[in-house]
């Protein structure tokens, strides 16, 4: 079920990877992207300090789109659109 964030991006799926360490959050995101349709919007919650650099770099290389990256309370929320 789609939910809305304060940036009004419709999230298709949320991956809560808080507590997982590098490269766990990225691996969880990749799994979610593989299971999703093109156009799906996936939000990843990560408390790993590497995710805010690693995930955007992977997203660019893999040909998807980074929609937002926000620091939340003790974690980062990274929102990605599956493009292919």
């Amino acid at each position: 079920m789609a939910t809305m964030t304060d940036t009004t991006i419709a999230i298709t799926r949320t991956v809560d990877a808080r507590g997982s360490f590098c490269p766990g959050p990225l691996m969880e995101l990749i799994r979610a992207i593989r299971e999703s349709q093109v156009g799906a919007v996936i939000a990843v919650y990560s408390s790993d300090k590497g995710s805010k650099t690693d995930i955007p770099k992977w997203v660019e290389k893999a040909g998807h789109r980074l929609l937002s990256l926000e620091a939340r309370d003790g974690y980062d929320e990274i929102v990605v659109e599956k493009r292919r």
């Binding site: 360490f21 490269p23 691996m27 990749i30 290389k61």
Partner: protein
Amino acid sequence: MDEPLNLVLFSGTDDKLQAAAVLAAGAAALGKPVNIFLQYWALDAFRADKIGQDHGLAPEAGVAGRAAVDALARAGQAPWAETLRQAKDLGAVDIQACSVSMDLLKLDSIDLDPLVDGVEGVTAFYLNAGGGQVVFI
């Protein structure tokens, strides 16, 4: 990114195996094939009856290092075997036991955890490595 990452694992302590598992998982996430060749004490750590046990840390860890590693584990860091399982799920990660080390440790394939895909000699390892980097841990 087509050339594989080739990891030769020699050390059997949990810190080095954890570092290797993270390198393997990162490469797998990028779609890079990974070949892992298990020798000596690393191979011993992949025995089915030992893989879930405590394999200690490298001597330089000391008491403070031990405490730091334990704290990360309590905070939820996946054990290295689990990280490797996830990496295999994600990409092409092939784990082979060195045939000489199998003889050294008097092991048969059946003694190894299912994470290990097979037993091969060093020549097969180099042939699979192609032009990719070889990293010894």
